[in-house]
């Protein structure tokens, strides 16, 4: 499959390990990525200020993807995926807003065509590539590892919008992890939010939410927490030390993007997967895998 890709701000500016691992792993599963001509915001932070402008930005991403001539758009960020989905929905349901958005796009010589399927890492790998192909392609099964998954919020809610997995009982990310040979655990806090959206208004509370989830995870003895959203990755991995300071607990949970874990199972070099960029203590995990 050849698909356009929209990375969003968080991945391009700081969650580079996610981007690196996707760029390494996808070609091995016969997915070719085509970057858009422009890197722009999806509209997510603008929603709170002006919902119309957010929908305009979301529609603009689709229009940019249309320029590639492809009919698939891969959006690896939960928040971008949600914002663009809501923009599509608004254009479908609200004629007045749709007309005005199209007028504004025209001023830049852009044209909106909704006939493009949006994918996220989870459904692209689970529904399109498929577990069977992943099982067959991996070179180094990750046996004997206990993993917990964190799917995030906006990629599974709300169902009326069309999301990639069940809103209350998501299972696809766990199945993807098990396809690599690892074991997955269920835990009570699985659906708890990482808090990243509160960074704009209540940064300490945002850290506190992420910290309390990590604290709960620490009691169930896992080898790693697996994420698939750059905002969740930022909170649980890059900011893990800050969350520990805020809640006053020592935390040492290895956090990996699913695509990084998949890359390890495909026996791709650690540095090419950006594993040196993870801030959480992943050394023991990597040692356990290569042992």
């Amino acid at each position: 499959m050849k698909t356009a890709v929209f990375w969003g701000c968080c991945i391009l500016t700081n969650q580079l390990g996610y981007e690196m691992s996707v760029r390494e792993v996808f070609p091995k599963l016969d997915i070719e990525l085509v970057d858009l001509h422009e890197s722009v915001c999806c509209g997510d932070p603008i929603k709170s200020m002006n919902d119309f402008a957010a929908n305009y930005l979301g529609a603009r991403v689709i229009a940019l993807a249309n320029q590639t001539g492809l009919h698939d758009l891969f959006v690896p960020c939960n928040r971008c995926h949600f914002t663009i989905s809501e923009a599509k929905n608004t254009i479908r349901q609200n004629q007045k807003a749709a007309r005005r958005i199209k007028e504004l796009l025209k001023e830049e010589g852009l044209e909106y065509n909704p006939d493009i399927k949006m994918w996220h890492t989870i459904d692209l790998l689970h529904d399109h590539v498929g577990l069977e192909k992943i099982r067959k392609t991996i070179k180094k099964p990750l046996e004997g590892l206990r993993m917990a998954s964190h799917v995030g919020c906006q990629i599974i809610r709300y169902s009326d919008l069309g999301r990639v997995d069940d809103a209350e009982n998501p299972h696809k990310l766990d199945e993807l992890i098990r396809a690599l040979g690892a074991e997955t655990v269920d835990y009570a806090e699985k659906l708890d939010c990482c808090g990243s959206a509160l960074t704009y208004s209540h940064p300490d509370s945002a850290l506190s939410l992420a910290g309390s989830k990590l604290k709960a995870l620490q009691t169930i003895k896992i080898d790693s927490l697996i994420v698939s959203c750059p905002n969740c990755g930022l909170m649980f991995d890059a900011r893990q030390k800050d969350t520990a300071t805020i809640i006053g607990v020592k935390l040492n949970i290895p956090v990996l993007y699913y695509t990084q874990l998949l890359g390890v199972a495909l026996d791709i070099d650690e540095k090419r997967l950006g594993l040196h960029l993870n801030q959480s203590p992943i050394e023991n995990l990597l040692a356990k895998i290569s042992a």
């Binding site: 391009l12 500016t13 932070p45 807003a97 919020c153």
Partner: protein, 170 residues
């Protein structure tokens, strides 16, 4: 000041309520029957005492001006559980977004982070600035060093059209 205080001290303004309803385009908040499913699952309730069902009731009673100038509307973590679980499709999250938009229109106090995002988008197209990041061994690296493609910029025309979009009042 709690929201209950806001209710007992203020007079409802149904004109402002209409503005919120217009922004919600079709989401029937009058259908809210206060089952409190939204509040019982609310992420922000744990830390910041956001009670979405109270927001729904206050909007329905016309206390919109008080909410638009209150800090409580900026505590939502946008986890969307309330939208998912509302049996009446009244969607507290969308009501909170509409209240935030109204607060911005009225130039009420908006958290700094959002204003920064807007100026960053105007400057580079992205809501965050590209920066050097550090490896686990504290080595500073950037995209070029990691052999990642350069981040492309939006067209010149982007800024002006984005400003136009920001001035729209749906």
């Amino acid at each position: 000041m709690s929201l209950v205080d806001l209710m007992s001290m203020a007079t409802p303004n149904f004109g402002s309520r209409e503005k919120i309803l217009a922004k919600l385009c079709g989401r029937e908040i009058v259908n809210c029957f206060q089952c409190i499913k939204c509040t019982s699952g609310c992420t922000a309730l744990k830390l910041l005492e956001l009670k979405p069902h109270e927001i729904m009731k206050l909007v329905n009673l016309g206390f919109v001006d008080e909410l638009a100038s209150s800090e409580i509307i900026w505590t939502c973590a946008t986890c969307l559980k309330c939208v998912q679980r509302c049996p009446q499709k009244a969607s507290p999250y969308h009501v909170i977004v509409a209240l935030r938009n109204l607060a911005v229109e009225r130039e009420a106090k908006v958290p700094e982070g959002y204003l920064k995002a807007v100026s960053q988008i105007l400057e580079t197209g992205l809501a965050e600035a590209c920066r050097k990041i550090v490896t686990r061994k504290m080595e500073a690296v950037d995209r070029e060093y990691l052999r990642l493609p350069e981040v492309s910029k939006p067209k010149e025309s982007f800024q002006a059209v984005f400003m136009k979009a920001m001035e729209e009042k749906p």
